[in-house]
């Protein structure tokens, strides 16, 4: 099932009671299907945006709608169609995975027997058939996360909000979670917040980059790549003095310098570095590079604006 509608944000701003601006005039329109990952540093506003869109938190100003339903005016109608797993959402310790999923389905209006049947199916679907009736408190962190995913999987929600679902998971559990997310994203809209860039790159159809409450960039991986003028990234230790002609050099601040450049120049510089027996890495531009570039660029803009203000 593919949704026709869009997720639309218009100048969403959130200022908390203490005066902290968590979101600053965030605007975008994206199709209401597939996986949309929001990435950003800690405190960038990812969770706030997810909470605003999932009707958990009122914005200070601005408007947003999901498939034509306003998040403020139509919240009750929207809640019929969304499912939320919040950041630090945990399974209730004294319940089993089947009980956890079934009670969630009952809150969604499904009858007791039907909810138990669907819950068992969903728990099996996430590969936990052998643990379906064990108490949640005896499960590993990865298994508990899977139970939460089983909840939304079993629901009929069309729009799913998962706030940092993979935080704290080991690499194997994270990969299993990615498989489930991709499965979910096939016929529903999934909004996922994460600070694992690899996760966003692997599972998302569209990615939004937030920095300090502002939306720095949004688009598919290809669209984000095209925001960079060059397709290759070369990283060398500081002081390497490379004769860069076509690309641009960025100091990463961790003792390394990044050169974003063309394929040909990356190749010639690599040859030079091999001959000089220098340590370096070269690869096509990743989300990591895009993120560093965008957020770095944003920081430069802020610094420039401050300088202008001071003048």
């Amino acid at each position: 099932m593919t949704r026709d509608g869009v997720i639309k944000c218009e100048n969403i701003t959130k200022v908390y009671a203490g005066g902290k601006t968590a979101l600053s005039a965030v605007s975008f329109t994206i199709p209401a299907h597939g996986i949309f990952a929001i990435i950003g540093r800690n405190g960038a506003g990812k969770t706030t945006l997810a909470r605003v869109l999932s009707t958990l938190l009122e914005p200070s100003s601005g408007q947003a709608s999901i498939d034509g339903l306003d998040i403020m005016k139509d919240a009750n109608r929207l809640r019929e169609r969304i499912a939320v797993v919040p950041q630090e959402g945990r399974t209730v310790a004294w319940m089993t995975p089947v009980q956890t999923v079934s009670t969630y389905l009952m809150w969604r209006g499904i009858g007791y027997k039907e909810s138990l049947r669907k819950a068992r199916e969903a728990v099996e679907q996430v590969g936990m058939a052998g643990h379906a009736d064990r108490l949640n408190r005896t499960l590993s962190g990865g298994m508990k996360r899977k139970v939460l995913v089983a909840m939304v999987l079993a629901s009929d929600a069309e729009f799913i909000f998962l706030d940092e679902p993979s935080t704290g998971l080991d690499p194997i559990s994270r990969q299993e979670l990615w498989r489930l997310l991709i499965e979910l994203g096939k016929d529903r809209f999934v909004l996922l917040t994460t600070h694992y860039l690899e996760e966003a790159e692997r599972v998302a159809d569209r990615i939004g980059i937030l920095d300090d409450g502002k939306l720095v960039a949004i688009g598919s991986m290809e669209e984000l790549r095209s925001r960079l003028r060059h397709g290759y990234s070369l990283k060398v230790p500081e002081g390497a003095n490379l004769p860069v002609k076509e690309g641009e050099t960025i100091a990463l601040g961790n003792g390394q310098v990044q050169v974003l450049t063309t394929r040909d120049e990356a190749l010639s510089l690599s040859k030079m570095l091999i001959e000089a027996k220098a340590q370096f890495s070269v690869n096509p531009v990743t989300l990591d590079d895009i993120f560093t570039y965008m957020v770095g660029a944003m920081d430069a803009e802020v610094a420039e604006a401050k300088e202008v203000e001071e003048e």
Partner: protein, 246 residues
């Protein structure tokens, strides 16, 4: 089963049935709390305050159901983020709270049953008096669950929340003249007791079981204050509770 029925049952299963199965100690505490006070009052008074103590136990059980709701909702909200998951679902705040409130009644039911049996055996009053006490208990319950829900939606820390539950219980059911008659408090301290809504409930109860008499005007005032406070607390629960955060 209707949709609301399923949603209410979900709250009851999470907060009572499944919890009772795994943590029976919680049930033992809720049974023992009102009975331990009653036992103490019985021996200290040489049995003369038995009827007062039984009514006090019934009022305490109903009020404690609300303060326990505050602690339970805070626990589920802050430690498991359950409230967020329910807010982002078709369940409305009133339905969620109704289910949770019933779950607290289920917890209180063993104590209530024991107290009701003791009431039947040792307190001999008219049917009208029994209905009056039931009405007082109902108002106590509505008042305390409204207060409990409103407080829980604002809480962000479970330790603070548990401390607040104990404080409410101490002030409104232990210190206030619920298990003992208000006449035991010397004036002018007696007037301080009227700051607690449970004082009005207990005074009505103590009069209904015939422990002492008050002028009918005083009784009318007690009913009026209790009814008004119930309405005010219900309003607070409905209007001031923070379901969707601001």
């Amino acid at each position: 089963m209707s949709r609301f029925g399923s949603q209410i049952l979900a709250s009851i299963l999470v907060n009572a049935i499944y919890e009772m199965r795994n943590y029976p100690a919680v049930l033992i505490i809720t049974v023992l709390s009102p009975l331990s006070f009653l036992t103490l009052i019985f021996f200290i008074s040489g049995g003369t305050l038995l009827a007062v103590g039984i009514v006090g136990g019934l009022i305490m059980s109903m009020f404690s159901a609300g303060t326990s709701l505050q602690a339970d909702l805070s626990h589920l909200k802050n430690d498991f983020k359950l409230q967020d998951m329910v807010v982002g679902s078709p369940t409305k705040a009133s339905v969620y709270v109704a289910g949770m409130a019933i779950s607290e009644l289920i917890y209180a039911s063993p104590a209530l049953i024991i107290l009701a049996v003791l009431f039947g055996l040792f307190v001999h009053v008219t049917l009208a008096a029994v209905l009056g006490i039931v009405l007082v208990m109902l108002m106590m319950f509505l008042m305390s669950i409204s207060l409990g829900f409103a407080l829980a939606t604002f809480s962000s820390d479970i330790v603070q929340s548990f401390a607040f539950t104990r404080l409410l219980s101490l002030v409104f059911t232990t210190l206030a003249p619920v298990y003992y008659p208000i006449t035991y408090i010397p004036e002018p301290w007696r007037y301080l007791a009227y700051l607690s809504p449970t004082t009005y409930a207990a005074q009505i109860g103590h009069v209904l079981v015939g422990y002492y008499e008050v002028p009918s005007a005083q009784l009318m005032i007690d009913w009026a204050v209790l009814s008004s406070l119930t309405i005010i607390f219900l309003w607070i629960g409905m209007k001031k509770a923070r379901w969707r955060e601001k």
